[in-house]
Structures are given as C-alpha cells and as structure tokens.
C-alpha cells in the first residue's frame, strides 16, 4: 500500500482534493472532541461539515466539464428566444453547430421541432454532474441550521452558568447536583399534620 509508486504519490499528486478534505475533516473531528470551549467545538463542527462538502463536490467534477447550466445551444428556451428575438444570432449558432462534430442530424431534427431535446452522451460529458451540488446545497443548509441551534444552546448555557468552557459547565452542574435535596414527599406530610394538631392543641 505504501510502495514508492503507490499510495503517497497517488494521494498527493492525483488526488490532492481528497487529501485536503481528509485533513480538514480530521481537524474538524479533533476540534469537536478535544476542545474545551463550546464555540471552538462548533467551529470544529463547521470545518468537519465543510470537509464533507468539499468531498462531495469533488465527486461531481468532470475533466473539461463546465457548470451544470445549459450553454445557449442546449438551452431549451434558447432556440425560441433566438429565433424570435435575434434571428441572426440564432443563425450564427446554427452554423457553428453544424461545424461542430456532434450529432448533427439529431440536432436538425430537434431544430425542426423548435423544442428541447435530449443531449447525446458526448454532450453530457461537457457538464459537471449536478447531483452532488444539489446534495451539498442541502447539506449546507442543514449545517447552518445545526450551527444556529447549537449557538442558541451555547447562549442558553452561558445564561445559566456564566461560562462556555466545558469543564467549568460540568463543575457547575456537579455543584448543582450536590446541592439538590430530593424532596421526600411522604416524609413531609406527617409533619404538616402534626403542626396542625399542635395548633389544635393550642386552640
């Protein structure tokens, strides 16, 4: 696994992104567990989640692919718009398309319909995979929400214990525990009756 031609080289050169995410993730994980300050823990949490986002986005990359938004020639509305508003421009694109190598016939057929068409395999390889991006939008949102709630908790803890250091909070909680007396429900009742009877005697 650690051969000279093996992992290290491969990791550092070919899979640099993956390495970066691993490092970030470990930093975040360590901070979440080891840090004493609650806010620092949360910073670790953010780093941790960011690392995962980086990883996911790396999956979606395609060599030579662009962002997953249709370029004008593939745009389902592009043709309508071009034909109606800018006929010359549309013709120009048409020419470049015909010069292009891909799927001319299909394209012309599509042209006839003036509607959207399905992209060919080779065309699809020009776009990055949109799915990881979508997933990460969700993950980001979840991360933000978690962070928000965690910050609110931190404030609540600070309000109650006046500190955001974990060990200090723990010490405060232990002190609180030690001072709480369990109310013994049954034991208190007879006293009350006896005080009543005492009153009765006085009367």
């Amino acid at each position: 696994m650690f051969g000279e031609d093996g992992l290290l080289n491969e990791l550092l050169v070919e899979r640099f992104n993956y390495c970066v995410y691993v490092v970030l993730l470990l930093i975040g994980l360590y901070a979440m567990i080891a840090k004493n300050n609650l806010i620092k823990k949360l910073i670790g949490m953010s780093i941790f989640q960011t690392a995962i986002i980086l990883f996911y986005v790396s999956i979606g990359v395609k060599e030579g692919g662009t962002i997953p938004i249709y370029v004008a020639e593939h745009d389902p509305h592009g043709h309508h718009a071009e034909h109606q508003a800018h006929p010359e421009e549309a013709n120009a694109t048409e020419e470049t398309e015909e010069n292009a190598t891909t799927a001319t016939t299909l394209h012309e057929e599509d042209h006839g319909h003036h509607g959207p068409r399905s992209l060919t395999d080779e065309e699809t390889s020009d776009y990055a995979n949109p799915l990881p991006h979508v997933l990460m939008l969700t993950a980001i949102v979840v991360g933000v929400a978690t962070l928000g709630v965690a910050l609110a908790l931190t404030q609540r803890i600070y309000r109650a214990y006046g500190t955001i250091e974990e060990d200090a909070v723990l010490a405060a909680i232990l002190a609180e525990d030690a001072s709480t007396v369990i109310p013994d429900v049954l034991a208190t009742k007879p006293k009350r009756t006896s005080s009543k009877s005492r009153k009765a005697k006085k009367a």
């Binding site: 979440m32 995962i52 709630v149 965690a150 109650a160 369990i182 429900v185």
Partner: protein
Amino acid sequence: MSENSIALIFVFPLFGAVLCALVGRKSRNLCHPIAVASLAGALWGGIETLRRVIASETNEVSYYFGGWNADAYPRGVGIEFRADYLGALIMLVVVGVAFLVAIYSKLPVAEETPEKEGPFYTLFLLQVTGLAGICLTGDAFNLYVLIEVAALTGYGLIAMGSARAAAATFNYVILGTIGASFYLLGVGYVYMKTGTLNMVGIQEVITANGLADSAAMQVAFVFICLGVLIKMAFFPFHAWLPNAYFHAPTATSSLLAPLVTKVMIYVMIRMTLTVFGVDFSFENTLWTEVIPWLVVIAIVCAATMALAQRDVKKMLTYLIVAEVGYMVGGIWVYNYYGFIGSIFHIISDACMTLCLFLGVGIILRKRRTTHFDGLRGLFRKMPFTMGGFFVGGFSIIGLPPTCGFFSKWYLITGGMLAERWEYMVALMFSTMVMVVLFFRLIERIHLAVTESGENIGHGHGDLALPESETFFDEAHWTMLVPLLLSASVVLVIGIFNQDIVNLIQDFLEPFDLPKGTGR
C-alpha cells in the same frame, strides 16, 4: 386518496406543524388539538399504507415524489418512498406512539414549557414527520435529510426544558452531528462508487459491479454503521442520551425515548439488508467478528449503569441504551430469528418504553421528583397509572404475555441458533438486572417502604400512611388514557405477535438469511 396514503403520513403533520407555528403565538390552546388531529390523520394514512402493502403482490408499495417513477425514468432520478413490511410497521409504530404522546402532552407541555406551546407542537409534529419519513424513504440521501430533521427537532424539543437540558443537548448536538456527518460521508462514498442514491439501485450496482471487495465501499459501510451507532446511542457512544432524555420535558422524553433509537436501528437493518445486501454486510470479518462483542460489552455495561441509578427516569434512559444493544445484537448474530427478534423488538420496545415514560411523566407531575425516594405508596394513590407502569416494566423484563417476552424469545432463539453464546449470556445478565431494577421499583411503589427500609405503616391494621396519602388521586385522564392504551398495546402486541411476526417473516424471506446452525 388511498394511492397517496404514503404522502398523507407526513402531509398531515407537516401542515399541522406550520399551522401550530402560525396560530401558536395568538391562541396557544389551539396547538394541542391541531397536533392531535394531524397525527390522527397521519395514523389513518399509516394504517392505509400498511393495508395497501399487505394487499400488494410484491409486499411493497413505491411512491415516487414528483412523478419521477421508475418505469419512465432511470431509477433514482427522483426520490422514492418504498413501503415494505419493515418500513410500514415501524412507521406505524412511530405515528401511533406520537399520537398517544400528543394526547398525553396537553398538561405537561402547558406546565413545563409555558408560553412555548406553539414552538413545541411545531417541533413535535416535525419530529414525527422526520421519523416516519426515515422509515419509508428509499433514497439514501433523503434519509440523511430526514435524520437531520429528526435530530434538529430533537435538539429543540429537549433544550426547551431547563438550562441543564440545554447543557445536555449540546453534547447531543456534537455527537449527533458527528454521527450524521459520518453517515453523510458514507453515503458520499457509496454514491461515488455506485453513482446512485436509490437504495435498491445501490444494491443492484453492488451486485452488478462486484463491489464487495472495494475498499471505499467497505469504509463507507463502516462509516454508515458508525454514524448510525452514534445516533442510536450504542454503548460507547451513548454519552449524549441519558442526560438529554433525563432533563428533557416530559412530553419530549416520552416522544423521543421510544422512537429515536429504534428508528436508527431500523436504519441499520435497512442498510445491512436492502442497501448493502446480506452478502456484503455479513461476509466481511472486518466487522462481523467485532460488532457482536461490542454488543456484549454494550449490554453488560449499560445494564450495570442502570443498576447504579437512584432515579427512575435516569434508570430508564440507561435501559434504553441496553435495549439498543439487544437489537443491534439481534442483527449481528446474523440469523433469521435474530432479525425477527430485532425487528419485533423495535416495535415492542417502542411500546413498552412509551408506557414506562408516560408512567414516569405522571409520577414526576404528582411527586415533583422521579427519585426512588419519591415513589413510596404510589400504588395506593394511583392504582391504574401504576398498573400500566408495571405492565411496561414486566415487558422490559420479558414476562409473558407482554410483547417484551416475544421479542426476547426470538432474540434468544437467534443467538442460540447462531451459537453466539456470549450474546445470550449478556441477554440473560441484563434480563436479571431488569428484574432487580423493576422489582426494586415495585417494592417501593407497592410496599411504601423508605430507602432505609423502615416501613410506613405497620403490617397489622390499616397502613398508617398520613391521611392525605391514602386517598385515591389518579392522574388526569389526558395522561392516564394514553398510558393505559400503551399498556394494553404492549399486551395486545404480545398476544397477537404471530400476526406481526408473519409480516416480518414475509419481509425477511427474500433475503435468504441462515435459519439454522451447522449443528
């Protein structure tokens, strides 16, 4: 409407939640009826779904959101909800438990979190939405989103209690996020190697491409399991659970304690059976030899810790951790009966934990404490409440004919057939611990003895309890009825376990799990 029953399960609570948020500030009293009504709707949808699953030929019903069905589009383009017996049963448990807790929570919520009814019921209903969704979703990433929905609502619901609850929740947030992130990472690996997020799709690709030996897939499995284990409070990762549930408001702990850990075990079953497949999950010695021993340690340690508690509610939280060990063990003994036991235990444990937590909530409300010392003579005051509570306790111990007996029965059978003696010993040990725990409780509740052993009242003549203590003081009906209902559900599930087990067997049949030993 019937074909949309799956959607109804969460449409009702979702709209109910928003409604609660909207009316919550102005007219707080409306929130409770809204919550109960929307959960009743969800329950109807759930029953309808189960009915449809039973009626269907393949024993499963798929529902494609946005109409991206698998016939016209590649599988996994849209999000699929797939109700099979496993998912439908556990979803029904989730909704049913939530319905009972919703009725129950009228008084505790108003008293413990005053002026916060709106946010409380909003989060409550969304929690149910998330949990029910987890049981049905057929998409690995959607599962993550729903896990987070359940987790976030859980944080909010718990932290609405005291400052102590907030401090406990913080731990939960940290561990919960680590767990969910590990799951997310695992799903990322799976997606990278298979190119799909649909659970069935993943399984197909694993078989087709022979991914069983892939390092990335193995690590993905480890991460997903790790994440789920953290989320279900499996023993070394349990640290968040006892405090969080202990300090949570009554209604919260009554909802979360029966459901959250169980649903996560469902996720584990789903991952091992449906997503990764039996061959992948149970052939790799990297984890199949490790997890059963972890289970043993988990059960023994959790049971021992429960034994050390002097507070009912705290004790119950540790019992949950021990029960998690049972169910995980049931999966990893890798046997047909083990799986039946595990799945049936999810159902029965949810019901009996509900029963116990509802009982504890009533105790807390009456006595202002759940410490052992505060339990004396409760049986005289609230015979019905305590009767229901005892039924839950008997079920945890595993006495027939409560459902706890049957799940334990199948777990033991599974462990025996798989010749996992260490698991059986751990089960026996924890059973004994539970006997001790519950009869210690029963002794106090029933016999009115103090901690030091002195007796209130003497053996002869009437018990010399203070006069105020002898009269009958039953819980309010909104709290009592759900408790008694849950107790009777514990009994009914036990008595009619055969019907449920048949469904579980139908679900397990295609997976070709080992049924016997090499004896």
